[in-house]
């Protein structure tokens, strides 16, 4: 498949890149690893005038500084997976990075690119020929007038299927966004809009310049479980990230559950914490009644419609099932 024509630019540093984005951001696509963007370009879901290669513009360093793990957005997923400091302090991130695509994608793809992944839909990620053949023409996200997955709706329901955002949000991460106007740091959970059409708050003249993960004061355990069609590759149909923080005196002091793949943004389930907070770690082993209650709570959280592989009901139920499995694994029962 042939790429559409674009100009290629590779800024040598951040200043040069931000100046370029300031002037040409609206007609520019920014490329980190390119493993998803180039597929989209080939499918003509995007046709930018310019492709801006971030490889020299942004850092890919991984370091601990001032009570944060600081990750440069160009850190390759394989670097996250193999980093000694991440394996030691945040094994959840190393584990999650190992679930993205195959080794080939991990050695090309970056953490920044994975966070900024565009939302996906069975009716959007298609070739122009397929779209033309579909009755009703282009969908909302492709610039048409209606959503084919949920006819009559004026909102895009494309799914956010990145792997790294869920565990990073569960770890209370922040993201630094920089433009020639200045820089800001926002909680990663607020980086996502929840609208499938424009899934992130990043403006065309901005670049993600750092991901910060706070070092927890106490003990922390985390797990990321992913449901996908092919174990070796594929985006998550459901991705469940769970982080449990404990304190010898007070028991469970933190419980964060974030689910990817069931909405246009990663879904934080704060109500799930009510089942466990201030209780002994043995409370992670739920009795059957509570399990059912938790599953119902999770099933209500997502907006699963028929726009991905697997029926909406299957994906909804699997979000609950994976959460229960995550709980069992984290409590050491499985």
């Amino acid at each position: 498949m042939k790429l559409p024509y674009f100009e290629y630019v590779r800024p040598k540093d951040l200043r040069e890149g931000l100046d370029f984005l300031d002037q040409h951001g609206k007609e520019t696509a920014v490329m980190a690893g390119g493993t998803d963007l180039l597929v989209q370009l080939k499918q003509r879901t995007e046709s930018p005038a310019t492709l801006l290669d971030l490889q020299e513009m942004l850092p890919g360093s991984i370091r601990v500084e001032e009570s944060f793990l600081r990750i440069g957005p160009m850190a390759r997923l394989v670097d996250i997976r193999e980093s000694g400091v991440i394996q030691e302090r945040f094994p959840l991130l190393a584990q999650a990075a190992g679930t993205v695509g195959a080794i080939l994608h991990q050695s090309m793809g970056t953490i920044g690119g994975n966070i900024c992944l565009d939302t996906r839909c069975l009716y959007y990620n298609r070739t122009p020929q397929w779209k033309r053949s579909w009755p009703g023409g282009a969908c909302l996200k492709a610039g048409g007038g209606t959503c084919h997955a949920a006819p009559g709706n004026k909102r895009c329901f494309a799914l956010y299927q990145g792997d790294m955002a869920a565990p990073l949000i569960a770890l209370r991460s922040e993201i630094q966004i920089t433009s020639s106007r200045g820089e800001k740091v926002v909680p990663l959970a607020e980086f996502f809009t929840g609208d499938g059409g424009t899934p992130h708050i990043r403006q065309p003249d901005e670049a993600v310049t750092e991901i910060r993960v706070p070092i927890p004061p106490g003990s922390q355990k985390g797990i990321y479980l992913k449901l996908r069609n092919r174990e070796s590759i594929d985006f998550p149909l459901v991705g469940v990230a769970l982080v449990v923080e404990t304190d010898g005196k007070e028991g469970i002091t933190g419980f964060r559950l974030v689910i990817s793949g069931i909405h246009s943004a990663p879904v934080l389930v704060p109500e799930a914490a009510d089942f466990f907070l201030k209780k002994e770690t043995s409370a992670l082993c739920l009795e059957d009644g509570k399990k059912k209650e938790l599953r119902k709570l999770i099933e209500k959280k997502g907006i699963t419609i028929d726009n991905a592989c697997g029926s909406p009901r299957y994906r909804r139920e699997m979000a609950g099932m994976l959460t229960l499995t995550a709980l069992e694994r984290i409590s050491g029962r499985q």
């Binding site: 498949m1 024509y5 290629y8 390119g34 493993t35 597929v39 290669d53 195959a102 080794i103 080939l104």
Partner: protein, 166 residues
């Protein structure tokens, strides 16, 4: 990277140990550079969307998908393709010998990608376990061999390399 003719970019990189420069439209992929401009057709195009791994090459020693790499991105990089994996272009690499010996090749279309992914693994981890081999080639699709012989070949090659180094 130099600007050359309007609508073209000039990219310099090292391919299989030799410095080269190509002048191509900016929307050219590395795969197109290899196959159409350098006439190195060992690297294959399968899906063109990064799902089959037939176009795997090593960029700075790491396995990468040539179909999802734009030409400009390899400026200044070291690229190794299947043509460069045999020493001097004549003596087969231990991996290539092992693929032949164990019958890990049938139609041969996936083989260059399989070998480059395996080579990426062996460069990083000379004594991989079967699990590690399976994971290393998990992004490469083979529709003939059923993978067992491929995994066996990589294991055999790693043992041969270890013996040769003794």
């Amino acid at each position: 990277m130099e600007r050359s003719l309007p609508g073209f970019i000039s990219v310099a990189f090292r391919i299989n140990g030799e410095t080269t420069r190509v002048t191509v439209p900016p929307n050219t992929t590395l795969l197109e550079v290899l196959r159409n401009h350098l006439r190195m057709t060992g690297t294959k195009e399968g899906c063109g969307t990064g799902e089959c791994g037939a176009c795997t090459v090593l960029i700075n020693g790491r396995p990468a998908l040539a179909c999802l790499t734009v030409a400009g991105a390899v400026e200044g990089k070291e690229i190794l393709t299947i043509e460069g994996s045999a020493a001097g272009g004549k003596v087969l690499h231990a991996l290539q010998r092992a693929f032949l010996d164990t019958g890990a090749v049938q139609c041969g279309f996936c083989t260059p990608g399989m070998i480059m992914s395996s080579l990426g693994l062996l460069l990083k981890n000379p004594k991989p376990s079967v699990e590690e081999i399976r994971e290393a080639v998990s992004g490469n699709t083979c529709r003939c061999t059923g993978y067992h012989k491929i995994v066996r070949a990589v294991k055999k090659a790693s043992q041969q390399v270890a013996e040769e180094e003794k």
